[in-house]
């Protein structure tokens, strides 16, 4: 058996398709093993679950791969840990909140008046003065603030409301002052801490104070946090004024672009304004709770950061949820292997045994088996798969595999049956029958082992179809919500209209990964075919 395998391998490796196929397979197996070792299970879960809270602060959102960007801006973290003494936990609403975040002030005074009167709130307050140096004309893609609060877990569970807001005051090298309000969205992370990621988005109002032009980004952000989609609103006049003051042409902008803070215009395009930026920022997080008086010493600020997100990431870029595309490609690989191999090998095995029996039984039993297989072969694969997925609602990868096996086992039956027919007419089978060898033994010991290698080639050649079908289903919205597959990456690209927005890295790379994966098995399958089915040899 092993000698046979060795000589077969040698024949496979003699063809160029075999060589390339085996090499690609080895690389992908190593990558898949690495993905499982490094990311199973937490990292894989995080890929789906962390798209709101984990990735947005760590990676820039929707940026191209670095090799296409000429003017790179590396993601720059301005950790403000060293100024920890600047933060405090207070018992009163600071009066300047009325000026810097009037909506929060109003909210607290109207909606939470009873709680406020009972003193059931804590305010975590951070302020920071510092500078940011931009050395080149490269622009950050985004500016984000991170505020991690330490809130006890029992307090989190008891209807605690956390309102967070703040402001940032940036004096640019050219003397313009940008004053930006920001409102945040809270995410629970782990047991103890609540992390607040504050992307700065908003419309801008213009104020002239002491001859300085001040722009305010209002907290009515244009970013809908609930479904993470941009709401397209028309650009208002103040924003247009800001753009025209900076000399930036207004094209199709529908939202305040945070890059504008650091930008100037050069021949109509946005370029960075190098120099020193003076930053003053203040963040508030107001914790309202029934238990605030009991837990006053446990509330605090764990960590805060100001981050200028880069304008490119890695070799593959990132998607709209800031997840690196390369990570998605890596995590999708084990799933592709798992689905492709399970479905094709199990279904081909079932089909091979079924076809062998259908060929061995030349009476009515074989005829019935063939009729059933004929019905199965008459079902168009993808439409029926879509129908079943629709009837189920969302389906997990496991049930998808079972459905795919149920639909595709009949594939090899006809070929296998004709092979089994030929073999079962051989003299030694007749002899075995005459001697009284039981059917089971004849089928499994004499006929099936001869057919088995050929069905393996069929199985290998069927893998691409399965992977492509999964991707197609995912594109229609029937993907497994928990599994990071390439199909779902493509679906995300389709959903955010990446083709028309020009985010090509979001679909080119997952598609290429799919093509390379599928091609691997086609190449190997075509190299194996002549060995196992000698008729095809030429």
């Amino acid at each position: 058996m092993f000698d046979n395998f060795k000589s077969n391998m040698r024949i496979v490796l003699r063809t160029w398709s075999g060589k390339i196929g085996i090499a690609l397979l080895l690389i992908q197996v190593i990558l898949a093993l690495y993905a499982v070792a490094a990311y199973y299970p937490d990292g894989m879960k995080l890929y789906e679950q962390g798209k709101q809270s984990y990735y947005p602060f760590r990676y820039p959102s929707t940026v191209p791969p670095c090799w296409v960007v000429s003017d790179k801006f590396p993601t720059e973290t301005l950790t403000l840990e060293s100024l920890k003494e600047n933060y405090q936990v207070m018992d009163t609403i600071p009066e300047d909140l009325k000026i810097v975040a009037p909506d929060v002030y109003d909210l607290l005074n109207t909606q939470f008046t009873p709680i406020l009167q009972m003193g059931m709130y804590k305010i975590a307050y951070v302020s920071y003065d510092g500078t940011i140096n931009l050395t080149s004309q490269a622009l950050p893609s985004d500016v984000r603030l991170l505020l991690t609060l330490r809130v006890p877990s029992d307090l989190q569970a008891n209807g605690t409301v956390i309102v967070s807001s703040g402001w940032m005051y940036i004096e640019r090298p050219d003397g313009l002052i940008a004053k930006i309000f920001y409102a945040g969205q809270l995410y629970s992370q782990g047991q103890q801490n609540i992390t607040n990621i504050i992307p700065i988005y908003g419309s801008v109002t213009k104020q002239v104070v002491d001859g300085n032009v001040t722009y305010q980004a209002l907290p009515e952000t244009l970013y809908n946090y609930k479904n993470s989609r941009w709401i397209s609103t028309t650009m208002d006049d103040t924003l247009k004024t800001l753009y025209s003051d900076l000399g930036i042409p207004i094209r199709n902008e529908t939202r305040f672009d945070p890059r504008v803070i650091f930008a100037t215009s050069e021949n109509g395009t946005l370029v960075g304004l190098p120099g020193t930026y003076k930053v003053h920022l203040a963040m508030y997080a107001i914790v309202l709770s029934n238990f605030a008086d009991k837990l006053q010493d446990n509330i605090g600020i764990e960590h805060y950061e100001l981050k200028l997100m880069g304008n490119c990431y890695g070799f593959f870029g990132t998607d709209v949820y800031s997840r690196p595309i390369g990570l998605g490609l890596l995590l999708g690989l084990p799933y592709a292997f798992l689905l492709g191999f399970t479905v094709t090998f199990i279904s081909t095995f079932i089909g091979a045994i079924y076809g062998t029996l259908a060929g061995y039984w030349k009476d009515i039993k074989g005829e019935i088996l063939m009729r059933i297989a004929d019905v199965m072969l008459s079902l168009p694969f993808l439409p029926i798969l879509i129908a079943i997925s629709y009837a189920f609602g969302t389906i997990t990868l496991k049930s998808l595999a079972i459905i795919m096996i149920a639909l595709s086992w009949a594939g090899p039956v006809i070929v296998v049956r004709s092979m089994a027919l030929q073999i079962s007419e051989q003299l030694y089978i007749e002899a075995a029958k005459a001697v009284g060898v039981p059917t089971r033994k004849i089928v499994f010991k004499h006929i099936f082992p001869q057919i088995y290698p050929y069905t393996m080639a069929i199985a290998v050649l069927a893998i691409p179809g399965i992977i492509v079908a999964e991707a197609s289903l995912a594109l229609l919205g029937f993907g497994d919500p928990a599994a990071p597959t390439w199909g779902k990456m493509l679906q995300l690209a389709y959903n955010v209209k990446a083709v028309t927005t020009g985010w090509w890295w979001m679909y080119i790379f997952p598609g290429l990964a799919l093509v390379i994966f599928s091609a691997t098995f086609l190449l190997i399958g075509r190299a194996i075919e002549p060995i196992v089915a000698p008729k095809l040899q030429r």
């Binding site: 694969f381 179809g465 492509v468 991707a471 083709v499 020009g502 599928s518 086609l522």
Partner: protein, 376 residues
């Protein structure tokens, strides 16, 4: 032609059709019945509310309340006077709904319901769309028709236009390529065809569609932008919109088609009669035309056509979606997003029917073209 053989084929086809239709009906039986039950409840609600508004409404309400109180007493349930009226109305509507569901036979076991749907499909009984889908006024139907068959039928010409054009183009390009490649196996063209077939089979067609749209409409403005607005009566508009989809599908199917043809031709080139013809000193063109092509034509026509048809059902559904091309594939997406069970059911049935019929036709064609195949 053997009539008995044809009759057996047709009977076999009909049996398979019934079973396959039953499978489709069984898949959709659950969602379809749920949708119908919802509709019945809405209907009953409207009925009761309408009757209450009419002149004798007050008596009707009292009657309902009396019935409800009677029901509560029979079952020893507590009577809550505050919410009695609301509860009674809800109970009455529920009761009417249950009765109507029973009358229409929707509470029967799934196989009974499924066989009823099977009968409805096989006899092509008109089905109305269960959500918002309606005809869009292409070709022969007026806008706003809710018949699921009409919604589907007005999309068929789009799919047919796209895939017959690209199939014809594919054959036109692939035949010379395959002939040339088969005469020099291992040559540059041959290797190109083999590698391209590997790639075209292993990629989702709709992915290449995305890439092509990006390159040809976004980066280089060679083709018009992909939009949903298509006017089938404006031929120029139609053709300009169809150009990129046709090119994409052709580029993809040429690879595998040429590869399959090349394999068939290689087999024929190795046959003895070709060697004899060559040994006789016949010119190569004559060998090709009279001996090779004549022997290779039947398998080429059928296998290749079958491959194209199969690929239509496999990959093309979603290719249409990417191109916003309003064919059957796009209708799948429309029905799924509109959550329209009725249209999706009929669509799956029609697709399956088309698939079965094409298989039957190709099967017969293959046997007719190739006398070596045993008719059994």
């Amino acid at each position: 032609m053997d009539v008995r053989w044809l009759a057996v084929k047709l009977i076999n086809f009909l049996i398979v059709l019934v079973i396959v239709t039953f499978i489709v009906a069984a898949i959709f039986a659950g969602p379809l019945t749920d949708r119908q039950k919802q509709a019945i409840r809405q209907e009953m609600q409207q009925l009761v509310v309408g009757q209450l508004r009419q002149p004798g409404g007050q008596q009707y309400k009292e009657y309902i309340i009396n019935q409800y109180v009677k029901y509560l007493k029979e079952n020893n349930l507590p009577i809550n006077n505050e919410t009695l009226e609301q509860e009674a109305l809800r109970w009455w509507i529920d009761k009417l709904t249950q009765e109507e569901i029973h009358n229409r036979g929707l509470d029967k076991p799934w196989y009974v319901v499924a066989s009823r749907y099977t009968k409805m499909m096989l006899t092509f009984q008109p089905v109305n769309s269960s959500a918002t889908l309606e005809t869009r006024g292409f070709f022969w139907y007026k806008q706003g028709d809710k018949n699921a068959y009409h919604i589907i039928l007005e999309r068929v010409p789009f799919s047919v236009l796209l895939f017959t054009t690209s199939s014809a183009l594919t054959l036109l390009i692939a035949i010379p390529l395959a002939l040339y490649a088969a005469r020099r196996p291992g040559g540059l063209l041959d290797n190109t065809i083999v590698s391209w077939s590997v790639f075209s089979v292993s990629m989702p067609w709709w992915w290449l569609a995305m890439v092509f749209i990006y390159f040809f409409t976004q980066k280089y403005h060679i083709f018009p932008k992909v939009t949903e607005n298509i006017d089938p009566h404006d031929i120029g508009n139609l053709l300009s919109k169809a150009a990129l989809p046709v090119i994409t599908v052709t580029v993809l199917s040429v690879g595998d088609t040429a590869y399959r043809m090349r394999n068939i031709l290689l087999d024929v080139f190795n046959e003895d009669f070709v060697m004899v013809a060559r040994a006789k000193g016949l010119p190569e063109t004559v060998v090709l035309r009279k001996h090779v092509l004549r022997a290779a034509a039947p398998p080429i026509v059928t296998i290749v056509l079958f491959a194209i048809v199969l690929s239509v059902f496999a990959g093309a559904i979603i290719t249409e979606l990417i191109f916003e091309w309003p064919g059957l594939g796009k209708l799948y997406w429309d029905a799924i997003t509109a959550n329209d069970v009725a249209v999706l059911t009929v669509l799956t049935y029609v697709t399956t029917l088309l698939y079965l019929v094409t298989r039957l036709i190709l099967d017969i064609l293959y046997t007719l073209l190739d006398p070596r195949i045993k008719r059994a």
